[in-house]
Symmetry: C2
């Protein structure tokens, strides 16, 4: 889940898409490599109680299974991030073959899951590069706002470079329109422009801007638990079905 533009719904999508896929019987792992640790908190994990986090796994050779935690959603696990991850980008530059560090440390557990989602920070630095190198595909959430289109060419060229140099199997799984407010012309215009640009790669499910979606993380719950009948919940459930169709 990548986009260097901030606040576009990367974390919200990892949390809610993961939860609906788990509810449909899939075994899902959500990996948080954003030092802010919003996926970790949004899934109800107390960061101060985490003994081992993704930082220890990436840089201190802690076995990955010691860091993975269960969540309140059966068959949804999380690999939590804590604040010490903030130093990781600089420390990773010392590691040989540094873009592949996440690929290496996740290798032992990837076979245990049907889906692994990685929540990236809002940048195209070494943590996001590690995610793109480890991934089979990338989902790009795009906010239906004016600035949303501005950084896209940078993101797409970064994906192309990773595919060319380190990870030939990387594909664009899809583009997800988020925070859509149908009452504004701006949202309609941005959505139209994204569809013109990406065509069938745009998921049919368009996530609306709703208060319930922004409230759910404050209870440490995905929307499927917090308010499953809300509009946002229905659209994330639709997205999960679409992802299952493609899988």
């Amino acid at each position: 889940m990548a986009n260097q533009k901030g606040g576009v719904g990367k974390t919200t999508t990892v949390i809610n898409l993961s939860a609906y896929l788990a509810d449909s019987g899939k075994r899902v792992l959500a990996v948080d490599i954003d030092p802010q640790g919003n996926t970790t908190t949004g899934l109800g994990i107390d960061k101060s109680a985490c003994e081992t986090s993704i930082y220890d796994v990436l840089l201190d050779e802690a076995p990955v299974m010691t860091a993975v935690q269960a969540t309140q959603v059966p068959s949804l696990h999380v690999l939590p991030a804590t604040m010490d991850l903030a130093g990781a980008e600089i420390e990773l530059t010392q590691v040989p073959d540094r873009e592949r560090q996440l690929t290496r440390v996740l290798a032992p557990i990837v076979p245990r899951y049907d889906f692994v989602f990685v929540d990236c920070p809002p940048s195209l630095g070494l943590l996001t590069l590690n995610a793109l190198t480890a991934a089979d595909g990338v989902i790009i959430p795009i906010q239906c706002e004016f600035f949303a289109l501005e950084g896209l060419s940078q993101l797409l060229s970064t994906i192309d470079l990773v595919k060319r140099d380190v990870n030939t199997r990387l594909v664009l799984d899809g583009v997800l329109l988020t925070m859509f407010d149908g009452r504004t012309n701006l949202a309609q215009q941005v959505a139209e422009e994204v569809r013109n640009h990406f065509g069938s790669q745009v998921f049919r499910a368009v996530i609306p801007r709703t208060v319930r979606l922004s409230e759910a993380p404050s209870y440490g719950q995905p929307i499927s638990r917090y308010d499953p009948r809300s509009k946002g919940a229905v659209l994330y459930a639709d997205l999960a079905k679409e992802v299952l169709e493609h899988a």
Copy 2:
């Protein structure tokens, strides 16, 4: 203007606060060091037409005055960012005393302005460190949403480190509550928590979430030009008055 949380209103605040201060007769420079270049576009500058940008000034020894451009607002200038800035963080690591590069290149022009605002990317990497090293003070925009509080301690400890090691004059100018939606409990709770934590350092002006504010950049205009009587415009004008009181 710094906060590693993405999408909290850093760019929107630089654009609109700068424009109102310029309207009040101050000479203002907006420096865009975010590779996304949203401040540059939001002030109506065509990035593809920029011959010299902040990248050339930081890394190619272009004289800063050759990159500064006028905007449609008299006495508001912008130092634009283009996509090549994306490579700057890695290249800056080769520069001796790298945190002070922005301070060095801005030195010749700072005296010509009453206010210089630097719009940072959503990370605590070398570009943001350069901004904190060059600045007298930092304004932290905080979105009235749950995740907003999560990364604050990291940001505050980074500010403290910069103050201790490289820039002793750096102070917290204030905390600005943004995207406040009075109809939701969540926004009220976040605002209350921020006030409990920061007390009088929270600006009295609270910026509401309004469609007009999100539409203005698509016309390349600050809100003072796009819709000066809108609620968002009035609150940014109030913020400018408060900043002038403190100056």
